[in-house]
Each structure stands twice: as structure tokens, then as C-alpha cells.
């Protein structure tokens, strides 16, 4: 029922509207429409791979930035704050352009479109991941650290076996949100020529002059991807709480 409510307005757009629509461009029953549809969907692989790679890197980076933020030493905390504040202040699009066009001049390393996009997305997201991890870890009570200390666990083992497993369970919904966010933001990498969903749609619009239909398909493509991710996250949450029951 809930799902229907989400889809209803889109179905109305697709079916009931007037002759302004030119669905022939993506009509799978015609050879041209089928080719166009296939072309549009062929970007999905890159969108998914790029987003997943970026989120894995940003989670790792986020955790590495979050831990010093929890330190009792001022210098470490300052590092965390500086990183988060600076990275969070840069618009993703600007970061993508900077990494792709600027970084090669600065470092002499030229990244291909894919890795430049992944790096920019991951960097940008890592600041948010760091904040999520910091909040998640801080939500674990002092008693857990003291219990770990009282059996002489090292800092590493305390984090690995006691604190992080509990923190990750708590921040799972937030991590799911970030993956949704990442899938959407990956569309920006189209500006440097990454052949993902949005880029494919743009290219087709240029040759077919049917922006309304093609971008509507694009919207649907993102919607489907994101509904799948949401379902996946919910499944994971259920499985994790079931494991404890």
C-alpha cells in the first residue's frame, strides 16, 4: 500500500497525460525505443559500482577520522574538527572538478574519470561518516569501556570487539541514508564524463530531443535503485536484531 502511494503520481504521469508526451523514444516495442532504453539503463552498472566503491572508502576514512575525534588529547580532536569542517564545506561538484582537473597539476598523478569521481565522492562523504561514527561510538556507555579495561583488553580490541559492533548496529539506518545520498550524488560525476545513468540520459537527450520522457526514465531508475537499497538496509537491520533474539 505504502509503495503504491509513492508510485501513484509517477504512474499518473506515465499513463493519463496528454499528447505532449512522446513515449515512443523509450517504447520497448519499437526497435529504436528498445535500443534507447537499453542505452539509458547501461549506466546503472557504473552508478552502482562507483557508489559502492565510494561508500566503502568513505566509511573507512570516516572511521579513521572519527576515532581521533574521541581522543582525550586536544591535538587529535583538533585534527578531527578541522577535517570535518573543511571537507564538509566543499560542494561535491566543486570537489569533483578539483580532484579531476586540479589534483593532477598539484600531485602529478592523473586519475581516470572513475577514480577521480570515487575519490571526490568518498572524500566528501567521509566528513559525514566521521560525524555519524563519532555519534554512534559516543552513544555507547562508559561502562562498556570500563568492563573492557577491567579484563585488560587493548584499545584496538575494545573498539573491534566491544564498541564498534554495538555502535554499527545503532548507526546502520544512518549508514543506509548515506548510501542513498551517495547514489544520488554520483550523478554529479557525469560532468567529468563518467558514463553513468545521468550521463547516458544527457547524451540521449542531445540526440533525441525528448528531455521530459528521458529524464522521467532517469528519475525512475534512481527511484528503483534507492528503493532496493532501502529494502536491503531494512533487511540487514532485521537480521541484526534477529541475531540477538
Amino acid at each position: 500500500m505504502k509503495r503504491f502511494l509513492i508510485l501513484a503520481p509517477l504512474l499518473m504521469l506515465l499513463s493519463g497525460c496528454s499528447g505532449n508526451w512522446g513515449w515512443y523514444v523509450v517504447d520497448p516495442t519499437t526497435p529504436n525505443g528498445a535500443t534507447n532504453l537499453k542505452f539509458l539503463m547501461s549506466g546503472a552498472y557504473n552508478t552502482i559500482i562507483m557508489s559502492l566503491t565510494a561508500i566503502l572508502i568513505s566509511i573507512t576514512l570516516g572511521l579513521l577520522v572519527a576515532l581521533p575525534g574521541l581522543s582525550s588529547k586536544r591535538g587529535w580532536r583538533a585534527f578531527n574538527r578541522t577535517y570535518v569542517e573543511i571537507v564538509r564545506a566543499v560542494p561535491i561538484l566543486v570537489l569533483i572538478l578539483w580532484v579531476y582537473y586540479g589534483l593532477p597539476q598539484l600531485s602529478g598523478i592523473t586519475l581516470n574519470v572513475f577514480w577521480a569521481g570515487v575519490l571526490a565522492l568518498a572524500l566528501s562523504d567521509s566528513a559525514f561518516q566521521a560525524e555519524i561514527f563519532r555519534a554512534g561510538i559516543q552513544s555507547i556507555g562508559k561502562g562498556q569501556y570500563e568492563a573492557a579495561q577491567s579484563i585488560s583488553l587493548s584499545y584496538r580490541d575494545t573498539m573491534r570487539y566491544v564498541i564498534l559492533p554495538q555502535a554499527i548496529r545503532r548507526i546502520l539506518p544512518a549508514l543506509g541514508n548515506q548510501l542513498v545520498y551517495m547514489l544520488k550524488m554520483s550523478s554529479l560525476v557525469s560532468v567529468i564524463g563518467m558514463q553513468e545513468l545521468t550521463r547516458k540520459a544527457n547524451e540521449l537527450v542531445v540526440s533525441e530531443y525528448r528531455p521530459l520522457e528521458i529524464y522521467t526514465i532517469l528519475v525512475l531508475e534512481y527511484l528503483v535503485l534507492i528503493l532496493i537499497v532501502s529494502a536491503g538496509v531494512r533487511w540487514l537491520e532485521r537480521r541484526m536484531s534477529a541475531a540477538e533474539a
Binding site: 561502562g143 562498556q144 570500563e146 568492563a147 579484563i151 587493548s154 580490541d157 570487539y161 540477538e244
Partner: protein
């Protein structure tokens, strides 16, 4: 404050220990010796520094002034000494502090495997030995939240014992328990005391204190006001503060 009986050197020795939390002085010039195998019960009104006292012994709190020697080692911030101290001093908390995402068995084997380097099998065997000792081997596969408070606290005691400590600290181990569960935890503690474990217990359970304590310590406002044998302590407290406290706690 030196204990005349202690021919062997004390296993815990605190000398003129002081500690502040901001402006609040939690410990004032505290000195205490505990001999091997001795059972010490610490009591006193809330905020008197009892918990801080025992938390300084395994350095969950650091002290400012004075000296604490545990098992021949002077406590400091060095990583080495921390590891050694915590290896030989176990602690049982008021709120149990079990790891909620791990089963009872995993709670018990984590330390032996990661800290003592036992194999999984050996750690499990050891864990089962101590679960039997606290009389809940049948709960091994459960998660802590499916256990009663009394059972959780007994798991926590078993978790400490799995590290085979020389000294066990108890920080109000029965204060968070429903009355009907206090007995089962105290029973385990009495059994431990009889086995010769060195114990320092912060508690208001005066019946337990009478039964097992070798030495009573009364604290108030961060100071050790009085120490003595249970007999002398309960029948003829030397200080007015202690007498008032005992009156309140025994007559309620």
C-alpha cells in the same frame, strides 16, 4: 595505619592517596593495606569515595597524590603497568556491564582469547568451568538481556574469574538488583571468599560483611574514618560518624 599482622608484604598498598573531580575532593589522604587472601568490606554514605577508592586500584581512575602499589607494581600511566595491573585485578560493577551483543559464553571467552592468548577451545573450557562455579552453565548460549539481573551479575563475576585475577574488586555488586536476587549473588561471593580470593567489596550488605570480612573500612567525605574487624566495627564503632551510619543502615 600499618597492619600489625601482615608479615608478608601487602598485595595492595595505598599510601596517602588523594584525588579530585574538579573542585570536589573524592579521596583525602587515604592509606590502606590489603594482605593476600584478605577480605575487605568498604562502606559509607554515598559520595564518600568508596567507589573511587577501588576504581583507583585498577586505575579506572588515576590518583593525583600518594602512591598505590598493587602486586608489587607502582601504579602509573605507563601502558605496561596498566596491562599487568588489570591482568591481576578483576572488577565487578554495579550495572554488570556485560557486553550486550555477545552471548554469555562470548562475554567470558573474549578476555582469555584476546588478552591471555588462549585457544578458542581452552577459553570455552575455562568459561564453562567458571559458569559452573557461579551455577549457570545452562545459560551459556543466551544473550545477557535474556537473563535475570542476578544471573547477569553472576556472569559478570565469572567473566572476571576467567582472567584468573589475584584480586577481585566489587563495586556495589548487589545495589542494582531486585531483593530476591541479592542472595544468589552474595552466595557466589561468599563461596569465592572461602576459596581464599583477595577481595575488596564496596557494599551496604552488612550481613555479608559480618560473614566474610576480615577487615571493615568506613569512609566518609573522601576519608577513611575507621577500620577494624567486623566484631569491633559492628559492636563498638570508635567514631560518631560511623555509629550514626550503622544505625541508619541497620535500622531501616
Amino acid at each position: 595505619m600499618t597492619d600489625a599482622r601482615s608479615a608478608p608484604p601487602p598485595v595492595i598498598s595505598m599510601r596517602n592517596v588523594s584525588k579530585h573531580f574538579d573542585d570536589f575532593q573524592a579521596l583525602k589522604d587515604v592509606s590502606l593495606d590489603v594482605a593476600q587472601g584478605e577480605r575487605v568490606v568498604v562502606c559509607g554514605p554515598s559520595g564518600s569515595g568508596k567507589s573511587t577508592l577501588i576504581r583507583c586500584i585498577n586505575r579506572l581512575e588515576s590518583h593525583e597524590a600518594g602512591e598505590i602499589i598493587v602486586d608489587g607494581m607502582t601504579l602509573s600511566d605507563s601502558k605496561d603497568s596498566l596491562e599487568k595491573i588489570r591482568g591481576s585485578v578483576g572488577m565487578v560493577f554495579q550495572q554488570f556491564n556485560l557486553f550486550p551483543h555477545l552471548t554469555v559464553l562470548e562475554n567470558l571467552t573474549l578476555g582469555p582469547r584476546r588478552v591471555l592468548g588462549l585457544s578458542e577451545e581452552d577459553a570455552k573450557a575455562r568459561a564453562m568451568t567458571y559458569l559452573e562455579r557461579v551455577q549457570i552453565p545452562d545459560q551459556a548460549a543466551k544473550f545477557p538481556r535474556h537473563l535475570s539481573g542476578g544471573q547477569q551479575q553472576r556472569v559478570a563475576i565469572a567473566r572476571s574469574l576467567c582472567m584468573e585475577p589475584r584480586i577481585l574488586l566489587f563495586d556495589e555488586p548487589t545495589s542494582a538488583l531486585d531483593p530476591e536476587m541479592i542472595a544468589e549473588v552474595l552466595e557466589v561471593m561468599v563461596e569465592l571468599a572461602q576459596s581464599g580470593m583477595t577481595m575488596i567489596v564496596v557494599t551496604h550488605e552488612m550481613g555479608f560483611a559480618r560473614r566474610v570480612a576480615d577487615k571493615m573500612v568506613f569512609m566518609d567525605k573522601g576519608e577513611i574514618v575507621e577500620t577494624g574487624t567486623p566484631d569491633q566495627f559492628f559492636t563498638a564503632p570508635k567514631s560518631q560518624r560511623c555509629a550514626t551510619f550503622l544505625e541508619q543502615i541497620l535500622n531501616h
